[in-house]
């Protein structure tokens, strides 16, 4: 082999002889990560922290002076904090508190007053349990068995996630109401009508929450399940563990972080739930968000901000705790060999086995809880008092054909939703990957990661007000008036809401990646960005695809920010159109909602198929 002249010195000379374009590319390659990080930070600063900061600061500043009196007032109010109000009002009066506890014990330890925050946490916890219980079996079935339509069902699991609250309420009433589908079916079977909804409003709300969030749990768990290394399971079996034991010892630890991610997200979402609670449960089941919404409607922004800050502190704190746990998990190397799936119903005998029957039973439950409301919704769109009718769709068609420019038309709504969805992907994926890469192995990683989750932890209605006051009305920053509205703002807002999902799906996989792979690439001459592109991203592709699916879903279903930023322009989306078509009879809104359902379902199937080509 020829010997080369010069080491690094010689090479550096050679490099400078390269063309200007190559040099630019070289610069971009070296600094790509920095550029992305700066761009991400800028987007977050303008579209997230500024709006949130504007509102939150009103909790702390009263006429220019900082004060915690608003917080004290809330914390010391038994309506908000229940039995803890006394303790929080005067934390240092230990004697009084101890006495209070003793008195309580003497009275037979009755159930303590929960307060608004307590109740919100309580229903969120119940909803989380319900979502996990409903979602895990779905992940199990989709990961373990092969059956016709599996891929499609897998693509569609996330569908409930995007439905507007109005639609879900309507669907639930249509499905579980006294006059609803389920009762009609029971009637057909000769069983009396059951007052499902009236029996326990809290239970209905929890099931509705599970409707929204069980798919989330299922999807996240499924992604992890499909990454389990078969060889690890085989090793355990060869060492003497039975299938159940091998599952428990090898697979469960790999699934646990994903399940907990799903549970955490569910808890946060259901803690901040709003329209569904009032629609199905009523004011008696009010949560913190209901109060925030009311305070905002009364323009008592300071009070709303106080509640919102407390809400965010709670949810962020929980998120941070979870992230500490996640980062402490020893990475199990990602397997190339995922477990093979068995056919679901290969023959009659297997079909009647206990396990298959249990699967069928779960399938029935899933149909009732998930498909039922959605189907009832669709039926509602073609019904009116007199039975089957197409008038609602005719309304949509006519509105589209003859509507004026200032009205809300169906096709622009559909087109915008899809365009914004794709654009959101284009922005949220790089944002999320950048944050994942920056936090995965850095010292402050956990803290940055928690801060990156802020979009999930902030009340939607508060964020909306922040957007309005900060960006729509405009903010003065040192003489320059910053105003952001229109389609670009909407895409940015969607990306801000969506990127945490990308991070949550990509980070665990990235953390498991052998750092030597990147170092090898770099030693071979790749810049940091090039190494990211060539080596890291392909290996975390499944996380990226899962994150993309969620990001798209978030964008399609996003309402509270979009409705504010789309005001007065024609950048409205399908959920906004649904709300605008709501009148004294909800037929047209339901028809539009059905359109949303169908368009979204089709999109998911496409996203999944396209994504599937990138995954392994």
């Amino acid at each position: 082999m020829s010997s080369r002249a010069g080491g690094p010195g010689g090479r550096r000379d050679g490099r400078s002889r390269r063309s200007g374009r190559n040099r630019l590319r070289g610069w971009a390659g070296r600094h790509a990560l920095t550029v992305l990080a700066v761009a991400t930070a800028a987007i977050l600063a303008v579209m997230l922290y500024l709006p949130v900061g504007i509102v939150f600061s009103q909790a702390v500043f009263s006429e220019g002076t900082p004060t915690l009196s608003a917080f004290r007032a809330v914390l010391a109010d038994p309506f908000y904090t229940g039995a803890l109000a006394g303790v929080l009002a005067d934390p240092l009066a230990i004697g009084a508190h101890v006495e209070g506890v003793l008195e309580w014990l003497r009275a037979g330890a009755p159930v303590p007053r929960m307060g608004l925050f307590g109740f919100t946490a309580y229903q969120a916890a119940l909803s989380t349990v319900a979502s996990v219980l409903l979602g895990l079996p779905a992940a199990y079935v989709l990961a373990t068995y092969e059956f016709r339509g599996r891929r499609t069902i897998r693509s569609l699991t996330i569908l409930p996630f995007v439905l507007p609250g109005i639609m879900v309420a309507v669907g639930f009433y249509a499905m579980f109401g006294r006059d609803g589908t389920l009762n009609a079916a029971l009637d057909f079977a000769g069983l009396g009508p059951v007052d499902f909804i009236g029996y326990s409003p809290l239970a209905v709300v929890i099931v509705a929450h599970a409707f929204y969030n069980a798919p989330l749990v299922a999807r996240v768990t499924l992604a992890a399940w499909e990454s389990v290394d078969r060889r690890a399971v085989e090793t355990a079996r060869s060492l003497g563990a039975g299938p159940g034991r091998a599952f428990r010892d090898v697979v469960v630890p790999q699934l646990l972080p994903a399940v907990l991610t799903g549970a955490l997200l569910t808890f946060v979402f259901t803690f901040m739930t709003f329209p569904i609670v009032l629609a199905l449960g009523g004011l008696g089941l009010a949560t913190v968000e209901v109060w925030i919404y009311d305070r905002i409607s009364q323009l008592a922004v300071a009070e709303a901000a106080t509640l919102a800050v407390l809400e965010t502190v709670l949810t962020l704190g929980l998120t941070y705790a979870y992230l500490r746990y996640e980062s402490a998990q020893a990475g199990m190397s990602r397997g190339d060999a995922s477990p093979a799936r068995e056919p679901l119903f290969p023959d009659l005998r297997t079909a009647l086995s206990a396990r298959r029957l249990a699967v069928l039973a779960y399938g029935a439950v899933a149909v009732v809880v998930f498909v039922g409301p959605m189907a009832s919704m669709v039926v509602g769109g073609v019904t009116d008092g007199g039975g089957f009718t197409l008038r609602h769709y005719r309304f949509l068609a006519e509105r589209q054909a003859t509507g004026a420019a200032y009205q809300t038309l169906p096709w622009p709504a559909i087109r915008n939703s899809l365009l914004f969805g794709v654009a959101t992907l284009a922005v949220a994926l790089p944002m999320g990957v950048t944050i994942s890469v920056l936090t995965v192995r850095s010292r402050w990683g956990t803290a940055i990661d928690a801060l990156a989750m802020v979009p999930l932890a902030v009340s939607g209605v508060v964020f909306g007000i922040g957007l309005l006051e900060g960006l729509v009305f405009g903010t003065d920053i040192g003489g320059f008036r910053l105003q952001v509205t229109g389609a670009a703002a909407i895409v940015a807002a969607h990306a801000v809401a969506a990127y945490p999902f990308v991070v949550r799906n990509v980070s665990p996989l990235l953390a498991d990646l052998d750092p030597a792979l990147v170092e090898s690439a770099r030693a071979l001459g790749a810049s940091r960005a090039r190494a990211l592109l060539d080596v890291e991203l392909p290996l975390v592709a499944s996380g990226i695809v899962a994150g993309a699916a969620f990001a798209f879903a978030i964008s399609i279903g996003e309402f509270s920010s979009t409705v504010i930023l789309a005001s007065g322009s024609d950048a409205y989306t399908m959920p906004v159109a649904v709300e605008r078509y709501l009148g004294r009879r909800n037929g047209p809104a339901i028809a539009m909602g059905t359109v949303l359902l169908v368009v979204t379902a089709a999109s998911f199937v496409v996203v999944d198929r396209v994504g599937g080509r990138f995954e392994a």
């Binding site: 690094p8 170092e519 770099r522 030693a523 071979l524 001459g525 060539d534």
Partner: protein, 362 residues
């Protein structure tokens, strides 16, 4: 090729110091090994040379020019990791060809080069396989081919053999050595296996707790360790401490618990070693000095006439051409290398005064 120099390189993290003032020089085309126990800093040194870490003090120089601040992709080094780090989503050929993408060569010449390298490591025709389909040894060779493809100035290997079985290890290290000398590429090799280090290196540095204990040829390291650590770490050794009782001719009389030995005068037979490490003995020890000296197991022979001691046999290992015997002389453990399996439970062995080496003053 390239000359490598480390000048006073230190690396400290928050609470720990990984490298303390490491200095060494590797000549053009030399096969240089860093050896030491886990945590001694050898891998950190390698990573610093590669550019994955920046030193907190000191300088790394390639051909006299400092490379501080240059990222790994700018240093023109080839790296082979302990677990090979093959890109699992690329084929063997794509792995080997990866580094070629960053040189302005065309596809045709890249393909030719990949073929050339696969041939060099005896993996012709395996280009289309996936890394997961290869055995450990094959993967290691692919990693080597990948590192060499872009014709780097420096080749760095971080314990590449530790995941392989003994037989494979031996044959592979010979292959690596052969390739290295064929290409005349300056190479730094990291291993914890001192036997391996001795076998393949042109020179080696023994490291401990972030410091270089001694640098020298395998023979110098083996025969003339300059610190107690080196004496104990490299190969089996019998290390004894004693007090100089006197000097006769060019012999030292050293008293050790339980006996007195006559050993060679260190100054008289000190050789010239490269590697300037403190330790060793530059001036003659005087009576009253406490010194450490060592005697290699193979120097203890039953038929030696001087310095005889009685050793009780506690264990033995048959190595084919020799037998390693663990014994005890009084309280002191003694290791022997005998031509045959001992027949009795107690033996008397002795050594020639020249076979003992004074390591350092205590």
């Amino acid at each position: 090729m390239t000359e490598l120099a480390l000048d006073g390189v230190s690396k400290a993290y928050d609470e720990t110091t990984a490298l303390r003032d490491v200095s060494l020089a590797v000549a053009d085309g030399e096969f240089f090994t860093l050896v030491g126990p886990s945590g001694c800093g050898k891998t950190t040194t390698l990573r610093t040379i590669a550019g994955f870490e920046e030193p907190t003090a000191g300088e790394v120089r390639f051909d006299g020019e400092s490379v501080t601040g240059l990222g790994p992709e700018a240093r023109d080094v080839g790296v082979v990791f302990q677990n090979y780090a093959l890109f699992p989503h690329m084929s063997v050929a794509e792995n080997v060809g990866y580094g070629l993408k960053f040189r302005d060569s065309g596809t045709a010449s890249s393909e030719a080069r990949i073929e050339e390298l696969l041939e060099l490591v005896d993996l012709s025709g395996m280009g289309e396989r996936e890394p997961s389909q290869l055995s450990g040894g094959q993967q290691q060779r692919v990693a080597l081919a990948r590192a060499l493809a872009p014709e780097p100035s420096l080749l760095l290997l971080d314990e590449p053999m530790s995941a392989l079985d003994a037989r494979l290890r031996e044959s592979l290290r010979r292959q690596v050595k052969r390739i290295q000398s064929e290409l005349s590429i300056t190479t730094v090799y990291v291993t914890h296996d001192q036997e391996e280090a001795l076998a393949i290196s042109d020179r080696l540095a023994v490291m401990n707790e972030g410091r270089v204990e001694q640098i020298g040829t395998p023979e110098a390291i083996y025969r003339r360790p300059r610190t107690r650590f080196v004496a104990e770490f490299v190969g089996d050794n019998n290390v004894l401490a004693g007090e100089v009782r006197g000097r006769e001719d060019d012999r030292l009389r050293v008293g050790v618990d339980g006996g007195e030995f006559a050993i060679g005068d260190p100054v008289a037979d000190s050789g010239r070693d490269s590697g300037d490490r403190d330790g060793g003995v530059e001036s003659a020890p005087s009576p009253g000095d406490r010194i450490i000296f060592c005697v290699r197991p193979e120097a203890l022979r039953e038929d030696a006439e001087t310095n005889r001691v009685r050793v009780s046999v506690e264990g033995q290992e048959f190595h084919g051409e020799s037998v390693r015997v663990d014994g005890r002389w009084g309280e002191t453990p003694i290791v022997l290398r005998l031509p045959d399996v001992p027949t009795h439970e107690e033996l008397t062995v002795g050594f020639e005064p020249e076979a003992a080496h004074v390591v350092e003053r205590e």
